[in-house]
Symmetry: D2
Subunit: 351 residues, 4 copies
């Protein structure tokens, strides 16, 4: 069977990292990326199920030859960093334990994404560790890079907010968004390692299905960050109410958001092009493209492609964001954040 294919000898003193919750799609991919990463030592992969099974048995393609173990901080010894891939509400207590153990954490759940506790409570219920909210930084690397560098807890964004915010941030900063509809399409991997009608190939295949109509939890995350990008507060009286709608389409990995913006004033195409070029000049993982992007162009990469156009017929702006929901939408962005947090080149292990 596959032997250790770790490509480079580890630097002595590489940060030691644990992936907690490696049995799901997001945690397994994070483990895959960190196992091959030249600048981190993947110490352990843990799970709440499948304990004792090897991760490369559960995810053969990822080829991580480690046994899934229970999360036992005493046994693991010193840990510099952790990626927590637990469901919402289950994550926060573990993030707390890891913090108290001395690790800096990238949390893939929604537990620390919102600045507003009341917004969290409205969408998710009681927060298990509200005391930690203050030390969490929202982990959309391109928007909060400098604060991420010093953060103890990084709240990795949802995949929909990542695509939406990268597509919209240039407009938000310019104060151009008066009204906003986001129509999002995602592959079935977005449903995770869940076995039901949502993911059965003979039901999800040859299908297009809208879900969570008028009730998607990613809405407040997008609203807060757009407000911040616009220079306001995360949640003020004048925060824009965003219309967000998600759909499952029959592919594996890939996500496209189509954003329909009613602008605050008329915007010419040339101004749009400048806004986006300026916003993302020098960004290693955002590609401003000249044609509407397809998700295949970014599959299994940490890239997000954005494209915006002005529609003269309606006066609206259409902005697209395309990424791989498991990569830039989740796990490779977590690695990008770890790179920033630990001073590695931002593209290390990702390009």
């Amino acid at each position: 069977m596959a032997s250790d294919s770790r490509p480079q000898p580890l630097t002595a003193g590489s940060p030691r990292v644990v992936v907690a919750g490696a049995t799901g799609f997001a945690g397994a991919l994070a483990a895959h990326l960190l196992w091959r990463h030249p600048g981190f030592e993947l110490l352990a992969v843990t799970g709440r199920s499948q304990v004792g099974r090897r991760l490369d048995d559960l995810y053969p393609r990822y080829r991580v030859p480690l046994e899934i173990q229970e999360l036992d901080l005493d046994r693991l010894g010193e840990i510099d960093a952790a990626v927590v891939a637990y469901p919402h509400a289950a994550a926060a207590p573990t993030v707390g334990e890891l913090r108290e153990h001395g690790a800096r954490v990238v949390d893939l759940s929604a537990d620390f994404r919102l600045g507003s506790l009341s917004a969290y409570e409205q969408w998710y219920g009681a927060h298990p560790r509200p005391d930690l909210m203050a030390e969490a930084v929202y982990g959309l690397t391109e928007l909060h890079r400098s604060r991420i560098a010093g953060a103890a807890i990084v709240a990795n964004p949802g995949c929909y907010p990542t695509a939406s915010l990268l597509a919209l941030a240039p407009l938000a900063r310019a104060g151009l968004i008066a009204d906003l509809v986001i129509d999002a399409k995602q592959g079935i991997s977005g449903a995770g390692r869940v076995f039901d009608e949502t993911t059965h190939l003979s039901i999800a295949g040859e299908n297009i299905v809208p879900y969570k109509v008028a009730a998607h939890r990613h809405t407040p995350e997008i609203e807060e960050q757009l407000a911040l990008a616009a220079g306001g507060e995360a949640r003020g009286a004048d925060t824009l109410a965003v219309q967000f709608q998600a759909h499952l389409v029959p592919l594996d990995e890939g996500e496209l958001v189509s954003c329909y913006v009613t602008p605050t004033r008329t915007v010419a195409g040339s101004e749009l092009r400048e806004l986006y070029a300026d916003a993302y000049a020098g960004e290693p993982f955002v590609e401003v493209v000249e044609e509407p992007p397809g998700v295949r162009e970014v599959r299994e990469t940490n890239y997000c492609r954005v494209f915006a156009a002005a529609d003269q017929h309606t006066g609206k702006i259409i902005a697209f964001g395309a990424l791989d929901n498991l990569w830039k939408g989740t796990s490779s962005q977590a690695v990008q954040n770890l790179n920033v947090m630990f001073g590695a080149p931002e593209t290390a292990g990702l390009a």
Copy 2:
């Protein structure tokens, strides 16, 4: 090889019908449906290519054992009806010849869909037969049934307008649409029997691709019909400019439109339900459903499923329309129209 599987003996005197342009996806399906139809005699299938080849060689699954021939009206003799499945601009002259030959025509192209000649010229260029526009009726059966019954030319709607208008007509009639964004997703069959990067499985598969950004020809068709449904003229000064955006997603047949309506006034969910129930009571092919519809539910049927919900967070209304782009979106709606035109039960050959 497949022998004649025509299920019922034809009634003496069944209308004799020709499918012109049977080599494309739409024409071939129309031929399939008419070959099995208890109330029509499929006299011939014609094509501008593939002449001499049998249609069941080109489309094995459709099992129509007729040879593709050139369209030669003299040889065909008396024709009562024709389905014309030609590209835009190529269709109109043939529609004209068939009319002059005495046939009533369902035209699948865009040539006779618009009431406004100037709108046609703006999107498609010069119209080959503007003289025939007056005798054409827009063939969305549910909206124009009585006029279709007596029409000489029925302009079969585009698949996107069919889904959009069925999803939106109840709102338009009630004067509820102040602003409108339509985000449409369609399977690859929508690209037709075209062989290029758009349809190659290794490029179109595992992909989601927006196309014709800010420039989709279906827009004026939707705008005209919404204006008419609202009780106005097809194209007046106050016609709503509709934001329409199409995407290709990796399945074969199926289409979903997600319509985001900024309403003219606040609308409660109960009022919405009533509006839709009333609008489609007794309609054999429109199903008002209680959950957002997936396109698999209507695959290879003439059904369109519609669903609407009010979003209290944004005040907007979201309306969905799901259909099979080749069936209710094109060819089975053509048969539905033929049924209406020739006095057959509307569901004949379709349920």
Copy 3:
């Protein structure tokens, strides 16, 4: 919602039929076909789960507006026929009850497919109702039509045996099979309404997976029937041991068997063509084709396409059989058998 779309008024006195186990893929499709069938009255659909739910809620596309109920023979009253879609071993007792209630049964399980009790016990364990084996007829319509007509219990074949036997029967009858390898490929619907790694689109998609290596339960069924076709006994000392191997490939419905025959003597292509043409002349649902068939050609139909060629390089014969595993491979063949059993036209409700 969809109202009753039953296309034809039922003939007074149509046989009353029940589908037991309508919640799985096979039972649901049988219910769909019988609901629309001009010659049967679908009295009830039953399930061991989902009781009280409507079948058109569980399978929207099939549009059978009946509530799933428990199988209660007293309440159902007189039943003429039943389709039993239970797993192996669970089926036989229910088949017995239905027989005792007076119904003629088409059983979709393997319980009555084998003539040899010992072969059954070897592959499936103890047989719950060996006493009924004698009155069961193997339901491959094309091979046993006359006995099916009078049968009390019809053991509907497995999908793999159906495709394999139709592809091979002409060779078996001619005594041409000296050695045989069958490589079978099937879509994910073959795994049924099962929710696990086998069916998850993000695991089964973009995959090709062999399963049950050197241990497939369909082997004895094929071996017995080939022996019978060759004029021998179902299981004699000289029964050919068949190498059968199944694979799951990423589509929904469809199955292809590729059969590699070492012939007992050299066979010319012309002889092959004659053998197959003769074997299937007049068969309404077997299409002998001139090119290797793709499964799309038979999707959602009761057709099986067969094709055979002699390979001059190796001296072997390659024979293909293509069908839809849920249709001719299971449920539409059950309806074909019901047609034969009750004297309806064999193609009724199927073409």
Copy 4:
């Protein structure tokens, strides 16, 4: 747009490599791999069409920011190595020019795969450069590593032979193959950048299609190499005639061969396991697995997974080989060969 994402600074004096024919799937992937390779300098990508277009416009996901140019050896200057991705017969003359220019060549075509000129002529017609055949080595790395190291021309194997030979070599060497059937399944990428019915998602999707029945050009390549592995000559009187049959299945990349071996003597499972373990001990890219492999496990990697089992029922051996047809089946194996030829670590740029 994506800037240069070349991960490592090139070692001074890295071999300079050209990909000739980079517009097809195989050439483009070779360019992608070499662009990111730490040990080669990708000097140019050439094409016979699309000249002047950037390769990352044609293949966005591969992100090779080079312009496609005509192959002009004078302009390119010194070249150490070339990958030629031309069709059969077109390749040999270009291979010859490159040789004369001093480059060592990995040829992806079939032009130099066969040892026997007469076999080549039988399957492909006249050979354009028979004079070069003597200096070509068959490039299945695991079978001919030491000769590849010194070769001037490496004939990269076909994808089917690669999977088949890796699955069968341990049996061939042990003299165990008396008769052999290979049933191969491949994704649509195997058809290449070809736009026709073979690759249209609405025709190839939801389909399984056998092709080239009793006439596949990969047969002689497999036969020669099996004979050599068995210790005989490439093409002797007693060379085994192999039954090979290919099928297209609806995925993008991935290939599985299922090999049915009638053994020369009875072989126990334990002996099989030992044979395979011994054969591939230390091989970095062949994984002998304990369950039948799915192609997803090796997607977009240079790994080939093999598995063999003895079937007690039939006495046959079933051996599977799974790989990615574009990677280990073609382009990443070419890079593996370049690594061997130029003394780089065999896994460089591939793990």
